[in-house]
């Protein structure tokens, strides 16, 4: 049944490949579009390669893609990326989990204590409007150069989107559902457990999705501004050595990681909130 659900959802999803029920033209158009996307990449890489080799710009500043990929390949086979990458991902993951736990719990608490929420809300908005990443240097000063400071930075960066989205989701008041709850004689806890909490999930997951990307950014920036270890530190070292292909190679790794995180979150989101896209 759950599988049926997933397939039912993918039918609605424009990136999914041809479905039996879909008109043929649209699936062909999709294939053509995918082909054009790949073609664009090939053209851009080709132009970069040509420009770089022609000597119009310094090879130091714009290395040819071929050099970047050979650096990347060399790094991957020698294994130099794995430990720092794991370091950063671990910090990002732990910070994200802590933020999710805190954001969700505090969000739930504030949603059930409307008075407290009203008092705190201006500050929540203020913090959410501040680029929290900017306090990363301060956190390094307070917490030190170890992995702890990275985790704290990630937590701080991820916390507010999760909190605000949870609050927003739990604050939804559907009149019909409220009356239904009264008619059924539901207690406050039951209303929360059976109606408000599940109903808030699309919002909560939107927050988690944004935060998962923020977690990666948080970890890297913490490393840029002083936290030891990790792929961000490695990138910084490559930069200091003026090894531009090395910097680009790490950027490609980060891009792949970011895409993976994005896909994972999307899959998770679709699993939990399969009903929300269909509802409308």
């Amino acid at each position: 049944m759950t599988n049926d659900m997933i397939s039912a959802v993918t039918t609605e999803n424009p990136v999914s490949s041809a479905e039996p029920g879909e008109p043929r033209i649209s699936s062909r158009t999709r294939l053509v579009n995918a082909g054009l996307s790949v073609l664009l990449l090939v053209v851009v890489l080709g132009v970069l390669e040509a420009v770089s080799r022609s000597g119009l710009v310094s090879i130091l500043l714009v290395p040819p893609p071929s050099a970047i990929f050979s650096t990347l390949w060399g790094g991957l086979t020698s294994g130099i990326y794995w430990l720092p990458l794991f370091d950063s991902l671990w910090a990002g993951f732990s910070g994200f989990l802590i933020a999710a736990l805190l954001g969700f719990t505090i969000g739930g608490l504030l949603a059930s204590l409307p008075r407290l929420e009203r008092i705190l809300f201006p500050y929540v908005v203020a913090f959410q409007s501040t680029p929290m990443i900017a306090i990363a240097p301060l956190i390094i000063i307070w917490v030190g150069f170890g992995i702890q400071s990275k985790i704290v930075v990630v937590t701080v960066v991820c916390f507010f989107p999760i909190l605000v989205n949870t609050l927003q989701g739990l604050r939804l008041r559907d009149r019909d559902r409220q009356e239904l709850a009264i008619a059924l004689g539901a207690t406050r806890w039951q209303v929360f457990r059976y109606i408000r909490l599940p109903g808030s999930m699309p919002y909560v997951f939107a927050g988690l999705h944004v935060s998962a990307i923020f977690a990666l950014i948080g970890a890297i920036v913490a490393e840029f501004v002083g936290a030891r270890g990790g792929i961000g530190t490695m990138m910084n070292e490559q930069r200091a050595l003026f090894n531009v292909p090395g910097v680009f190679a790490i950027l490609i790794i980060l891009m792949v990681v970011g895409l993976t995180v994005n896909l994972l979150m999307k899959a998770l989101e679709r699993r939990v909130t399969f009903w929300s896209r269909e509802k409308n």
Partner: protein, 263 residues
């Protein structure tokens, strides 16, 4: 008025009033001195122009809205029916999209810690009764509007309530679906013996379903007329063209028009 006083009322409304502003100006009253008794197993429709307070009356009787004055009593005791003894069907199906059809129908049992096995068995019976076969593991958004409303009716009946409150449940459905659901509802009424308070603005629907029709007038919302529907049961699709049916329909329409003219 004899028809207003059944011998064995299960639900009684006395001198009920409702105002939102708190003012005592009679024109500002949503409901003004409403008196109504409904007998056990009786099907009563509340009909009237928009703004006459018919939904408000129903919601006060169901305990969903507070009253400003008067009393509501259920089974001889002051107060609205306890949730375990009533079911409510709303204008919208109000199903939870993350729950399957069966889980939606079971929601009242879950909330009231009822015997789940018994409720599940009852839910399946209701699915059968309401022509909802093979959809118990579907989700509400996979169903048509008519089917969603059937599911919400099944939900309201899963704990075998004594009283069923229905607030224009078929208002958003097309005429064909509506007629089918009216037949099914009549069937359910006969089989369960539940007392039903049914709010509608559709006259032939009210005549088709009811034992009595309460016609309301607006500003202030009040009962303008109560019409007995002495038509045999079961009523069928042919009943709509019966002479007796048409006659009652005309009487209700006249009350309705008078009520509308007064407002």
């Amino acid at each position: 008025m004899k028809t207003n006083r059944p011998t064995d009322p299960i639900l009684t409304v006395e001198n009920l009033s409702k105002s939102y502003s708190g003012s005592t100006d009679p024109g500002a009253l949503v409901l003004s001195s409403v008196n109504l008794s409904i007998a056990k197993s009786e099907f009563v429709s509340i009909i009237g122009p928009s703004g006459c307070g018919k939904t408000t009356l129903m919601k006060i009787c169901a305990g969903l809205l507070s009253k400003s004055g008067g009393t509501v009593s259920f089974a001889g005791k002051a107060g609205t029916p306890p949730p375990s003894k009533m079911g409510v069907v709303f204008q919208s199906a109000a199903l939870l999209p993350w729950r399957t059809v069966l889980a939606n129908i079971m929601l009242p049992a879950t909330i009231q810690h009822a015997d789940m096995d018994k409720a599940r068995q009852r839910a399946r019976e209701l699915l059968d009764m309401l022509n909802l076969k093979n959809i118990e593991s579907k989700y509400p958004w996979e169903l048509s509007g008519g089917m969603q409303q059937r599911v919400s009716i099944a939900r309201s009946l899963v704990l075998e309530p004594e009283v069923l409150f229905m607030d224009e449940p078929f208002g958003a459905l097309d005429a064909m679906t509506r007629e089918k659901l009216n037949l099914d509802l009549q069937d359910i009424h006969t089989r369960t013996g539940a007392t039903i308070m049914f709010v509608t603005h559709n006259i032939s629907e009210a005549v088709f379903l009811s034992d009595r029709i309460v016609a309301m007038a607006a500003r202030p919302g009040r009962i303008a007329d109560i019409i007995d529907v002495d038509l045999g049961r079961p009523r069928t699709q042919d009943s709509y063209v019966d002479e007796d049916f048409r006659e009652i329909e005309t009487r209700v329409r006249n009350s309705f028009d008078r009520a509308a003219a007064l407002a």
